[in-house]
């Protein structure tokens, strides 16, 4: 009896043991491979995209199909021209007869068109030897070899002559020289890049907007840095400098850990390292998703023993005007100069300007610490300058005939234009000599402006770009953007290029720089346009009563006068104009002798 019981107990124990072992095996087998509730190790996010190249689609050239008719051959040729993966355009040449293929040169200026249609002369019956196909449309822009994009206009009628080759296939025997790209193809084949160069004092950054052809064998970052090293495009010729040593070449742009490595062939001079860092950082941070850059030379660290790592955040302070602080604008009210204070209530400025009534108009604020304000006299014959200090007195700097409203540049010189005779203009630049306590006036050489009437001139905050509104002998007005070269007596305005045609025969009332590349244009019909050298003008809005504008980065102010002569300052809230300045009662209505002629520093 006890023996049986003991055996039963033993059997039971063995069974329990076996069960436990089985459970353990099952638990181990089904145990989760990925542990939950445990901190995951930080894994580098490489492979999720190349940070040096934003995703893009590209058109691939396809060889002609033997069965295509002349029209399709022309379409295929136009598409094959847009293929950037084939720099020699070898596939595009397959659409051409051998003779034309030898003559055709796909280099040089690229014409960008908006297509209206492709027309064959007549239906193509069998046996026809020659057919003419015409591409019709409008030219929208050109891209020069240095990447300079210029909007333009004009009709496009490009005839293609097609013949049958020995195998009875249609081939193009004559057609336009150079590359013709439709707008969509051009957008795919070229990418915009902002290159940052230095002004003559190497203190400010000047934007050069270029179009870079998409190169599948490279990355956008690499192509951009290569282009940066090549130097500025024609629009900034002679006006800017670069911190890179002469002949510096790019070896590669790669990513390593969390930063982008730029591998160059040469070092910059020690004084230029900060400027070079700013150039690289500003140029690259618009493209790549990193904020830390390292510069190496021939694969080695920049300094012996330490590397040159650029933090994009720190480079924001290289040129304070690139990221301007929150500045309160000045304006004129009732003949005195006021500054917009808290709660949008104006306060009179210190010194004479804030206390004594005057009849000055169109003030301009300088950028330096003295806070000088220049204003045009009511009869447009003189410009006076006052420092906004306790005992600041108006001081006459310039006199002339029909002076244009003054404009300060970042080097503390004051610009204006006088008109010695109708239809002629003289650009003047004034410096204040602190030692001799006198104003020096220089005539700025600007041959393109001598024979036209300049109605407005504004120097951009980068100190290089300058915008002028001109009226030619026929009365047509246009805006031109150029560059300031040299200083003092050697100053001149170069590279003047008209921006996209403002509405024909429009009067231009005022100009204001938003930043280094965008200009606001106020037309006579109080229409506001956003213009730049490399794009079409964009109408922003319309408000009939605006007489002057000023802008700083995202802030855009306008001085408006209504039909009764009441004035107010308006601000653009990116949809419409809103009144800005409150009076003592806190209302923002138009009033007689109300706030007018707002002005941000520079620009």
């Amino acid at each position: 009896m006890t023996g049986t019981g003991a055996r039963a107990v033993r059997t039971l124990r063995a069974a329990a043991l076996a069960l436990a072992a089985l459970a353990l095996v099952c638990a181990t087998a089904s145990c989760s491979v990925i542990p939950t509730g445990v901190r995951a190790g930080a894994v580098e996010d490489e492979g999720r995209g190349n940070p040096l190249d934003p995703p893009y689609a590209r058109s691939i050239a396809m060889p002609p199909n033997d069965e295509w008719d002349p029209e399709k051959i022309v379409r295929g040729f136009l598409a094959a021209m847009a293929s950037t993966g084939d720099p020699g355009r070898t596939i595009a040449r397959q659409y051409l007869t051998d003779g034309f293929a030898g003559r055709w040169k796909p280099s040089g200026e690229v014409t960008i068109y908006q297509q209206d249609g492709i027309e064959a002369d007549r239906p193509v019956p069998d046996g026809t030897a020659e057919v003419r196909v015409t591409l019709k449309g409008t030219v929208t822009a050109t891209i020069k070899e240095d990447g300079l994009y210029r909007p333009s206009d004009g009709d496009l009628r490009e005839p293609f002559t097609l013949v049958r080759d020995a195998r009875k296939r249609w081939r193009i025997d004559a057609g336009p020289e150079g590359l013709l790209l439709s707008k969509a193809d051009a957008d795919r084949a070229y990418r915009e890049a902002n290159l940052y160069f230095l002004d003559s004092k190497r203190k400010s950054l000047v934007i050069d907007q270029v179009r870079l052809p998409v190169n599948p064998a490279s990355t956008l970052a690499k192509a951009t840095v290569e282009r940066l090293l090549e130097g500025a495009s024609g629009s900034l010729e002679g006006a800017v400098q670069t911190a890179f040593a002469q002949g510096t070449q790019l070896i590669d742009v790669t990513t390593e850990n969390d930063h982008v490595v730029v591998n160059l062939t040469r070092r910059a001079s020690p004084d230029d390292i900060a400027a070079m860092s700013a150039q690289l950082s500003w140029t690259l941070s618009e493209i790549v998703s990193g904020s830390r850059f390292e510069v190496r030379v021939n694969g080695e660290s920049y300094f012996p023993g330490s590397s040159l790592v650029i933090d994009a955040q720190k480079q924001l302070g290289f040129d304070p005007w690139m990221t301007p602080p929150d500045v309160r604008p000045l304006y004129l009210q009732d003949g005195t100069l006021r500054q917009l204070g808290k709660e949008n209530v104006g306060e009179p400025v210190a010194g004479e300007a804030g206390a004594k009534k005057g009849s000055r108009i169109r003030p301009a604020v300088s950028g330096h610490a003295l806070k000088q304000v220049a204003a045009l006299s009511g009869d447009r014959k003189s410009i006076s300058v006052v420092s906004l200090v306790q005992d600041g007195q108006w001081q006459e700097w310039a006199t002339g005939n029909e002076l244009v409203p003054p404009s300060w540049d970042r080097y503390h010189s004051l610009w204006t234009v006088t008109h010695p005779a109708p239809g002629t203009s003289v650009v003047l630049r004034h410096y204040y000599d602190e030692v001799k306590r006198e104003v020096k006036q220089f005539r700025v050489s600007a041959h393109d402006l001598d024979e036209v009437e300049v109605t407005a001139l504004k120097v951009a905050r980068d100190g290089v770009h300058v915008a002028v509104a001109v009226r030619d002998a026929r009365g047509d007005e246009e805006v031109r953007i150029g560059t300031v070269v040299g200083e003092g007596a050697g100053s001149r305005i170069d590279n003047l290029w008209p921006v996209d045609r403002v509405d024909d025969k429009q009067e231009i009332k005022d100009l204001a720089w938003k930043d280094g590349k965008t200009l606001y244009v106020l037309t006579g019909k109080s229409e506001l346009l956003e213009a730049s050298l490399t794009g079409e003008s964009k109408p922003l809005g319309f408000y009939a009563h605006i007489e002057s504008i000023t802008a700083l980065d995202r802030a855009l102010l306008a001085g408006a006068v209504d039909d009764e002569g009441n004035r107010q300052i308006l601000y653009w809230d990116s949809a419409k104009w809103q009144p800005l300045v409150k009076d003592e009662n806190g209302t923002t209505g138009f009033t007689e002798d109300g706030p007018a002629h707002p002005a941000f520093p520079l620009g």
Partner: protein, 580 residues
């Protein structure tokens, strides 16, 4: 000439030498392998574990790579499906307007606006993120300009073979290939990848051209890297595992083999007579118990041997004592018997005959006692040699002379074959003479009256005397038994000469005392031969004998017979072997 010859010969010699060395090394290795249990166990463990690890490794690697690639393919296929839907959506959107305008879907492609195909490729590029994830190529052979790709994928990656396969398949049906992908920026270096190609299914949008081919190209370089590292890891782990197993086998067998080896050595020493050899007993496992058993066995063996030795000693002592003790009464009996024998003339013939018999048997008894005493002296180790340099021929002649009388009685003649020059050797001539006398008496006794040949031989190191009779001979196996004490070839036969039965035993002891050999040969019907071989210098080891043990005529006859009837050779081979 001669250097050239030398040069020509040297490589061959070298090769031969190398081959010889290799063969020798292989032989050594084989010997070591078969002698070492440990080496065998480790080797077999190594071989088996290599096989197991290799099979497991290949299986694991295949499983892992299949899993990884399947995952990637599934993901890529679903992405491709989503992208196809997007493409079709984009293509159908402007379809109605385009169709209205020109009736040709291709015309929309080259209008001033962005073509839908270009737009959708841009969209797909944004979805894919970058070439690192996947690239897309879309084309339609029939429409000019309908050929787009994302990022830097090279159109070479889609081969003509893939295109043909896609075109022959139903629209919407996937074709997938593992192939090499080319990118424009990698210097033409291909990347392993997966290509999924389909013809766009346009059944739901009849106005869209049905010639669109969409290829998704998924680079698998990261997977390849992962799989390569997995393979490397498997190899490293496998090699480590095999080495570990070999090390474990080595350690385990060492634990077993070392005690066994020690036991073997101890057994060898024990066998060599070192009875005090014992093993160290450590622990309580089987090996410890083996050692303990061995020790017990050795102790028991030693005890038994000691007991037997003691017993033997007691017996010898007893024989010696009895012999001594018998001599005193025997002397008295002898004196009395001598008196009786001398006065036998006066007795009646019966009594006279009894006296004679008693006298004879007393003499035999005396010589037997003397032999017993002599042999007990040998047993006690008390026998000493009185070495002197003598001519063996003289000793032989003296022994023959002593045996002449007996030989005459048996009408036996001696045939002496002595060398011409003296055969000097260091020996105790008294003992050697006794040996020879014993051999001659033995030959006379068993010679059946036939001639007895006595030959003497000598060489540089040794001298030998052979006594040959032509009597009944010896049966196989009796060659050694003849030297046993009181051994008799035929127990029923009476001793005719009155030998004590100890003569040959004593002779053997004498020969051994000289460092010589006393050996017998015999064959039924052919007689027998006894050979005494002695070193010329006392104390040196004997390496061979100048005379053959088997008589030359017998040997010759055998060889001849062996040639004639090889079948009989094994039967006749017995005893023919010389002890040399």
């Amino acid at each position: 000439m001669s250097p050239a010859k030398k040069r020509r010969r040297t490589p061959r010699q070298l090769a031969r030498g190398a081959r010889r060395r290799t063969r020798r090394a292989a032989g050594r290795l084989r010997r070591v392998f078969w002698r070492s249990l440990q080496l065998r166990v480790v080797t077999s463990t190594l071989v088996i574990s290599i096989a197991v690890v290799a099979v497991l490794g290949v299986f694991l690697e295949q499983q892992i790579s299949t899993a990884v690639l399947n995952d990637r393919e599934r993901a890529a296929t679903s992405e491709a499906q989503a992208d196809r839907r997007a493409v079709l959506g984009f293509l159908t959107q402007p379809e109605s307007e385009a169709a209205k305008q020109s009736g040709d879907a291709g015309k929309t492609l080259q209008s001033g606006e962005e073509s839908p195909l270009g737009r959708v490729t841009g969209e797909l590029a944004n979805r894919a993120g970058s070439a690192g994830r996947y690239s897309v190529i879309i084309r339609n052979r029939r429409l000019p300009g309908a050929f787009f790709g994302t990022m830097n994928i090279d159109e070479r990656s889609v081969t003509e073979k893939m295109r043909e396969e896609v075109l022959t398949k139903e629209a919407g049906e996937n074709g997938s290939w593992y192939s090499e992908l080319y990118y424009k920026d990698r210097g033409g270096r291909p990347v392993p990848g997966l290509v999924i190609g389909t013809r766009l299914d346009t059944t739901s949008a009849p106005l869209v051209d049905d010639g669109y081919e969409i290829y998704h190209l998924v680079p698998l370089d990261k997977e390849e890297k992962t799989l390569t590292s997995v393979r490397q890891m498997l190899v490293v782990v496998g090699v480590g595992l095999v080495l570990l197993l070999a090390a474990i086998a080595f350690l385990v067998t060492r634990q077993v083999v070392t005690p066994v080896r020690l036991t073997r050595q101890a057994a060898e020493r024990l066998a060599a007579g070192r009875l005090d050899e014992r093993l160290k007993v450590r622990g309580e496992d089987d090996l410890a118990r083996l050692a303990a058993s061995f020790n017990e066995m050795a102790a028991n063996l030693a005890l038994k041997i000691h007991q037997l030795e003691e017993l033997s000693q007691v017996q010898r002592q007893f024989v010696s004592d009895v012999s001594h003790e018998l001599r005193t009464p025997l002397t008295t009996v002898r004196m009395a018997a001598d008196l009786l024998y001398d006065a036998r003339e006066d007795f009646d013939p019966m009594a006279a005959r009894s006296a004679e018999l008693m006298q004879n048997q007393l003499e035999r008894f005396e010589s037997m006692l003397a032999d017993l005493l002599e042999i007990s002296r040998y047993d006690a180790g008390a026998a000493t040699l009185d070495v002197d340099s003598v001519d063996v021929r003289d000793v032989v002649l003296r022994a023959v002379a002593d045996s002449e009388a007996l030989a005459e009685r048996h009408s036996t003649r001696f045939d002496l074959r002595l060398p011409g020059e003296p055969c000097m050797a260091e020996m105790d001539s008294r003992r050697v003479e006794r040996i020879l006398r014993n051999l001659l008496f033995n030959a006379i006794e068993h010679g059946e009256g036939r001639d007895i040949v006595v030959s003497v031989g000598a060489d540089r190191d040794a001298v030998a005397v052979a006594v040959r009779d032509h009597g009944v001979g010896l049966k196989p196996g009796e060659e050694n038994m003849v030297f046993d004490r009181f051994w008799r070839a035929d127990p029923s036969r009476a001793r005719t000469i009155g030998g004590t039965g100890l003569g040959l035993a004593i002779s053997r002891e004498d020969a051994i005392l000289h460092g010589g050999w006393l050996q017998a040969w015999g064959s039924p019907g052919e007689g027998s031969q006894f050979r005494l071989s002695l070193p010329r210098t006392a104390g040196t080891e004997l390496k061979g004998s100048p005379l053959p043990l088997v008589p030359p005529e017998v040997e010759m006859r055998r060889t001849w017979r062996g040639h004639m009837t090889p079948m009989l050779a094994p039967a006749a081979a017995d005893g023919g072997r010389d002890a040399e």
